[in-house]
Symmetry: C2
Subunit: 237 residues, 2 copies
DNA sequence: TCTACCCAAATCGTATGCAATCTTTTTTGC
DNA sequence: GCAAAAAAGATTGCATACGATTTGGGTAGA
């Protein structure tokens, strides 16, 4: 089974409209850092890029704005979000609150099929960790996020699932911005442990592991305010 | 049916985004049940009602769609959401997960000014409980929701605050749909207790009280699938 | 009388045009 | 030479127009 199908089945598939398809592509680009934070996304530019009118481009940008991935300023345009350290802290505080509960919910509903999907996901992660280079690292961040989204899908709460989609997307941006590089293999092993807890039905353990996992992800960030980002932020905005 | 009669048009001539103003008015109307679930909100009708073009009306409806207060179907239009019992359960499951944590966060940051605001809010609630009639009941539901939003604001996490805005709005709709009427005074007294816990700095107690409070709200709902709503749902969709 | 088909009305999806606003550059006064 | 004002350029905000899709009604045929 394809993970994307599971994740996006709730919000309906791509046949809905073009704005959603453009949003998805832009979101991928932002999360993958192919679009740097602060990059201006003008309606006209996005429109010509995807060969649609400004109307459709505008709708896509509005969606991303709701998700917190782009920031729009009146009469000025849309910019790729440049999350501040404070925003990053709030992001992970939110995840600490939500994800242990999601782990418990998922644990209570997980099926053999789900377990197989988790293992496929873990394999996918492992593949990127073995590789080197920035492309592999971006893929790795994305795969790591997909693990959390898969868990949210298994938990079976559409509302929380949507919240997690937003949190994971923004987290990926934050990790790309502030992450040191060392902890990836650690994160993967923690994912493996969580799946193990799910498989053995130990919900409490799954929840605790998830909490620690999030702590570890955040601990890997360097959220000190540095001259570089601050300067760039000042110039961009 | 004409929806003009059910929306009061308070011309908020703020220089702000008009779409946002329209969204706010529509949201109030939906949460207050002046717009019944299932009501069709055509772009043209909303536009003429608020004296804007379909473009702006469409943007407002899109925002409400993101919040889960309206459901849009391609080439058919937007309809006021008609949350199912299952959706209601997921809603309250989400709140059980998030709000105790919000209570703890708020407890750690609450100031004397905040406490005063809470007490003013409690007074407001009490005023509507004393009254009778459907109008007072709607105001009461709204005031009750505002309490939770105030708590979220005090907690100081913008992300969770936005989540709570959505959850409270949808909960208000659910309560209006499925709520029995008896528990209102009980909810108010529980709010009072929570403020008391905040004031005395007992964060654990505030969190536990909040959890029980949410349980009580949900317990007050009649989520059994009845013939009426099921039929209406079948007809609406 | 019932069913199937077709056409008209309504509504949405999208493109495009114009006015307002912001930014940048140029010009002008000192 | 520098600062301030003004004009030019770019981009968004919003309205409107037109094609596409759905819906409901009416008519013809069995």
């Amino acid at each position: 089974m394809n993970i994307a199908d599971q994740i996006y089945s709730a919000t309906d598939s791509a046949t809905q409209d073009r704005a959603r398809a453009i949003r998805d592509q832009l979101r991928d680009a932002i999360v993958d850092r192919r679009l740097a934070p602060g990059t201006k996304l003008s309606e006209g530019e996005v429109g010509t890029l995807f060969d649609v009118s400004r109307t459709v481009a505008r709708a896509a940008l509005q969606m991303l704005s709701f998700e917190g991935l782009v920031r729009t300023e009146r009469n000025r345009g849309a910019f790729v979000a440049n999350p501040s350290p404070e925003e990053a802290r709030q992001l992970f505080a939110s995840r600490r609150l939500i994800e242990p509960g999601i782990a418990i919910a998922a644990c209570g509903r997980v099926t053999a099929t789900d377990i197989a999907a988790f293992k496929a996901q873990l394999d996918e992660e492992g593949r990127f960790i073995a590789e080197r280079g920035p492309t592999a690292r971006r893929s790795e961040i994305k795969a790591s996020g997909d693990f959390h989204l898969l868990l949210a899908a298994v938990a079976g709460n559409a509302i929380l699932q949507r919240f997690m989609e937003e949190l994971v997307a923004r987290s990926s941006l934050v990790i790309a911005l502030y992450g040191r590089s060392g902890i990836s293999a650690c994160g993967h092993s923690e994912h493996t442990e969580i799946v193990g807890a799910l498989e053995s039905g130990d919900c409490g353990r799954a929840s605790r592991l998830m909490l620690h996992h999030i702590d570890h992800i955040e601990a890997d960030l360097d959220l000190r305010v540095r001259a570089g980002p601050a300067l760039r932020e000042a110039l961009n905005f």
